[in-house]
């Protein structure tokens, strides 16, 4: 006997599985496990800082409170280079247990986020042609979403 719950935005007995909004059972052969990822942590932070020229510089790190590498999505807004603090973008991201590798945002400034089993990091690396004073004099807001999902290791 299987117990669980199913809901749908139409007749529950007629819709396809992918039209259901909850299916907590394993009754559909396509479903091996059903988990709704959810955010249970959020953070906004505005900083003014100066990274080392040409170097990866840890600007912000936040403990996320979990003992695993969670799935996360970082967002940012900036008034740098004509941007607006009211306009957010999804930032490129990686997960890593090692010192964070860079991801290229532009050729002039490399902005990226990483997560390990302890912290979420937002970092900047200065590139060619980037006016350092622009970073110092600009505002940045970072926000991230952590979902109750283990990004894990390939062996787990």
């Amino acid at each position: 006997m299987k117990l669980g719950i199913q809901t749908a935005d139409d007749d529950i007995n007629r819709v396809n599985s992918f039209n259901m909004t909850i299916n907590s059972t394993l009754s559909n052969p396509l479903i091996e496990t059903t988990v709704n990822p959810r955010k249970f942590d959020t953070l906004n932070y505005t900083f003014k800082s100066e990274p080392a020229i040409g170097a990866i510089t840890g600007i912000l790190s936040f403990p996320h409170g979990y003992d695993y590498r969670p799935v996360f999505f970082p967002y940012y807004a900036t008034d740098y280079n004509g941007g607006s603090l009211s306009s957010f973008s999804l930032l490129k991201y990686l997960l890593s247990d090692a010192p964070a590798p860079p991801l290229f945002l532009t050729n002039s400034i490399e902005l990226y986020a990483v997560v390990d089993s302890k912290n979420v990091y937002f970092r900047v690396r200065k590139g060619d042609g980037f006016a350092l004073t622009n970073l110092i004099n600009s505002n940045w807001i970072f926000s991230y979403r952590i979902y109750a999902l283990d990004a894990g290791d390939v062996d787990t």
Partner: protein, 251 residues
């Protein structure tokens, strides 16, 4: 006749709660995971199939990538060139049957990570109603709620064990917009949420048979405000934009 389930976050009246204080509504699409696929791509690998999902449609997915050293998640054409060339471009892509690793630089180092594969078809158009306009003020602090266990015990304190838990917000889909664009067009999606929503963008470049996850970079400008989500991909491609109801700049 409208029958369904609505569930608000603790302390909020389910009949008047604004969308972002809802934990769940059966009127709205949710993201349902069918598979989590860990992968390890050996160093110097060329394009590689990671997993055969055989759903028959391209599914929504989240690529979580661990790659030491300089790298770039880029829009990559089928011939192995990137839309905007960098030193070491790579990505995880999906089609109707597979999840694949593609790269412009087969000499790159080992890439590991995990793909979160959802049951939801990636390519669709969808509009959820905004029917719950309230003050958002908490009205009650009583300790009660609803949770649906997926694995383990109902008493677990690990959120990963639950399909729904009213103490946590569930990602609820607000808009899905599919269309085509080119190097000059700017796509503006009026989401009308009155708050900055989480969003995800995918693109299928001209000539490609796969979809890629796109973030803001030199080859794509993607941003959202309280009213609009704006996307410019600078390439001839098909796109799909997922806008969730959850805000990114407040708890």
């Amino acid at each position: 006749m409208s029958i369904g389930i609505k569930m608000s976050q603790p302390g909020y009246n389910v009949k008047t709660s604004p969308d972002d204080k809802m934990a769940f509504s059966s009127e709205w699409q949710t993201l349902r995971i069918i598979k989590e696929v860990p992968f390890r791509i050996p160093a110097s690998s060329v394009a590689t199939t990671i997993f055969f999902h055989d759903l028959g449609y391209a599914p929504l997915y989240w690529p979580i990538i661990d790659k030491p050293g300089d790298s770039n998640l880029a829009l990559i054409y089928p011939d192995g060139t990137a839309h905007v060339q960098n030193s070491d471009d790579l990505d995880i892509v999906v089609d109707e049957h597979t999840i694949r690793y593609i790269t412009t630089s087969p000499s790159g180092g080992e890439v590991t990570g995990r793909v979160i594969l959802f049951e939801n078809p990636l390519v669709q158009n969808y509009e959820a109603p905004i029917d719950l306009r309230g003050s958002g003020d908490a009205i009650d602090t009583s300790n009660y709620g609803v949770r649906f266990v997926n694995n383990g015990s109902i008493d677990s304190t690990d959120k990963r064990d639950f399909a729904i838990d009213s103490t946590s917000r569930t990602p609820l889909v607000h808009r899905i917009k599919n269309g085509t664009t080119d190097s000059t067009k700017q796509i503006i999606i009026n989401h009308d949420l009155g708050q900055l929503p989480a969003f995800f963008v995918y693109a299928k470049l001209s000539g490609a048979d796969y979809w890629q996850f796109v973030t803001n970079a030199t080859d794509a400008f993607i941003s959202s405000t309280d009213t609009d989500t704006t996307v410019q991909l600078f390439a001839t491609c098909e796109y799909v934009v997922w806008v969730l109801k959850e805000p990114v700049n407040k708890v």
